[in-house]
């Protein structure tokens, strides 16, 4: 007798067991540790923390291991954990002027107060695959210098002094939280920035790239990129003072964009802003280009390109949502497919009946007409 080809609990159990086996791989190769991942694959850890919106390198490393290195799966695992955490309060805004800087560059000035600090960058490496890395070669300690890197003026503040760039006053509003409240379009800029900060790096990169190729051009300059450790402070009403919780590594990008001005506003530079957990210039830069593109309406610019379209960008930038919905197509759809199957069969029957009628008409057509 026919038995339905449907999975049961046993099938799922076996699949999970096989997954665990594949995750571990060859048992004669030592298992990778979370510490190895946080120390030696730290940019992967950074990406998972950024797009999961949870700063916890240890858990991010565990998620990467659990996901067999599938980044979006790791982001998903960490987010699903984050959503169960209680919310105690909100931190003070991070003071990026006083962050401990590891890298800081500006493309708008040759030299500037605080200098250009290259930091741990791939930028000027030659991308030649390096056989010397095989094994565990000795690595020299980095050169160090003491202090002086925790109070460096931001380029945007320098431009601000001349009123050449739009001012960004403290709006004195409590920003919404896209993870706790349903957001509606049009979004406020804080909510939009939250969405972009956890948005997919690849998606935002492609959109940012499209603005450079004419789809929503914004004449961008990298005013500044800074990477380093910023203190997180929280107000404790009982104590009457802000208490430092710790430091987080962040990447901040201030993009400076051209704006011709209007009848109301003098010509000045405008801003695109990017801020992400960890070290990720690509993401921070892409975010700032997208942020600026999405401000088109604010400046009365014509909205013609995908990167300027808030609903399009925000609705599709979340890779956990996107991967879930795309991959749900592998769930059974046979009820709906059956409905379509029945419909297509009926439409075909109708089509064939019409075809038969037409052939009959042809055969009965007067010869005279055919001759014409």
């Amino acid at each position: 007798m026919y038995v339905a080809v449907k999975g049961g609990e046993a099938a799922i159990d076996h699949a999970h067991r096989l997954l665990a086996d594949r995750r571990r791989g060859d048992r004669t190769v030592p298992a990778i540790t979370e510490a190895q991942i946080t120390e030696q694959l730290s940019l992967a850890v950074d990406r998972v923390m950024a797009e999961a919106s949870l700063y916890d390198p240890g858990l991010a490393a565990l998620a990467i291991r659990q996901a067999r290195g599938d980044m979006i799966e790791a982001i998903f695992i960490l987010r699903a954990y984050r959503t169960t955490l209680p919310r105690f309060g909100s931190s003070q805004p991070l003071d990026t002027r006083h962050m401990r800087i590891e890298r800081r560059i500006s493309a708008t000035y040759k030299d500037l107060p605080g200098g250009q600090l290259l930091g741990p960058t791939f930028d000027y490496t030659h991308r030649l695959i390096d056989p010397d890395l095989v094994g565990d070669p000795e690595v020299p300690e980095p050169a160090r210098r003491d202090g002086g890197l925790d109070n460096i003026a931001r380029v945007a503040d320098i431009l601000d002094g001349e009123s050449l760039i739009e001012t960004e006053a403290d709006a004195d509003i409590v920003p919404g939280d896209i993870t706790r409240e349903p957001s509606e379009f049009p979004m406020s800029r804080p909510e939009r920035l939250q969405s972009l900060a956890r948005g997919d790096e690849g998606f935002l990169l492609a959109l940012a790239y499209s603005t450079q190729r004419g789809y929503g051009r914004s004449h961008p300059f990298v005013g500044e990129i800074r990477i380093g450790l910023a203190e997180v402070e929280i107000d404790v009403p009982e104590l009457g003072v802000a208490v430092t919780l710790g430091e987080v590594r962040i990447t901040e990008c201030q993009m400076v964009n051209q704006f011709k001005g209007t009848a109301d506003k003098p010509p000045q530079f405008t801003r695109g802003y990017g801020l992400v957990f960890g070290q990720s210039e690509r993401k921070a830069m892409a975010m700032s280009l997208c942020d600026r593109a999405l401000r088109a309406a604010e400046y009365g610019e014509e909205i013609v390109a995908p990167a300027q379209d808030e609903e399009f960008v925000i609705s599709h930038c979340d890779n956990v949502q996107a991967t879930g919905f795309v991959e749900h197509l592998k769930l059974p759809h046979y009820v709906d497919f059956q409905a379509e199957l029945g419909l297509v069969r009926r439409l075909r029957t109708a089509w064939e009946e019409r075809g038969v009628l037409l052939e009959d008409d042809d055969s009965e057509a007067p010869l005279g007409e055919a001759a014409q």
Binding site: A4, A80, E181, P186, T323, E327, P332, H333, V335, Q338
Partner: protein, 286 residues
């Protein structure tokens, strides 16, 4: 994550309250899509996170839960969601439609008529019935506000003009309580009439799209149509090959590569209940 303890039904109580408020609003405005702050769930978006959140918000220790996908209790995703709730709530689960207090479903309404007191929770992929006619949320919300459903009628009319009939076989749009046009989720239109004046409460959860909507008990649900092209449901030429039932929705099962096929009940519980022997039942009907 050893030592991580989860609340009853996974979600914390504040989140459940938030979802319940959205559900109450949805019940008060039948067919209206209420935005809610959907959470990340430990299963992927598109796999029932909206339905799971609704169920998690309403389930209590004394409930009996049934989970179906494509009408069946033993499809992998139904098994997975049922296992999830058994793990995080320890409530009783059942496959019998009549015994369940909450039925979470994907793509079907059970064949056995539901009773007062039962709750049917639908998993919804795209809650907006106008989405494929107008991609922008800002636009569709205005259209609902103005009860401007002309676009939908034009679409249905164009179907008739092109194909001689309305070419929508599932997720067939309905009008609820003579006000909101609503997506019944991708159930076959065969199931649409079961929504009308149902004694059960029908809740719809869309996690990725962050919307909840509802059809309260004994509410009018009308499938959109025209006077000269009245709504009609699918019919099948033959009965179920296993239980002999007629007037139920059937799955087509391919038997070989020579065109052999059979038609069997999509609703496995209904099918099992009509068959005298239980030997060849699929496994794991716990």
């Amino acid at each position: 994550m050893n030592g991580v303890a989860y609340n009853f039904a996974y979600l914390d109580e504040q989140t459940k309250r938030m979802i319940r408020r959205a559900i109450l609003k949805a019940i008060a405005i039948p067919g209206y899509q209420v935005p809610f702050a959907a959470r990340e769930m430990p299963m992927p978006y598109g796999w029932g996170t909206g339905g799971v959140q609704v169920t998690a918000a309403i389930i209590g220790p004394n409930d009996r839960l049934k989970v179906i996908d494509q009408g069946a209790d033993d499809t992998t995703n139904a098994v997975s969601i049922r296992a999830f709730f058994r793990k995080v709530t320890n409530v009783a689960v059942t496959t019998h439609t009549g015994d369940a207090t909450i039925i979470q479903t994907r793509h079907r309404i059970p064949e056995q008529p539901l009773a007062a007191g039962q709750i049917l929770v639908y998993q919804v992929p795209i809650p907006e019935p106008l989405r494929f006619l107008e991609p922008r949320e800002t636009e569709t919300r205005v259209m609902h506000g103005l009860e401007d459903y002309g676009l939908m009628h034009v679409k249905l009319y164009e179907d008739i003009a092109h194909h001689g009939r309305i070419a929508t076989a599932y997720a067939y749009p309905v009008k609820v309580a003579d006000r909101y046009v609503m997506d019944p989720s991708p159930i076959p239109k065969f199931d649409n009439p079961k929504m009308h004046m149902s004694p059960a409460l029908q809740l719809f959860g869309a996690g990725r799209e962050k919307r909840i909507y509802a059809v309260p008990p004994y509410t009018e649900v009308k499938s959109l149509d025209f006077e000269d092209h009245p709504f009609e449901i699918q019919t099948f030429d033959q009965p179920c090959a296993l239980c002999g039932a007629r007037n139920v929705y059937l799955d087509e099962v391919i038997l070989d590569d020579r065109g052999g096929r059979m038609f069997v009940c999509s609703d496995t519980d209904g099918c099992d209940s009509r068959r005298p022997t239980t030997n060849d039942q699929p496994e794991a009907r716990s």
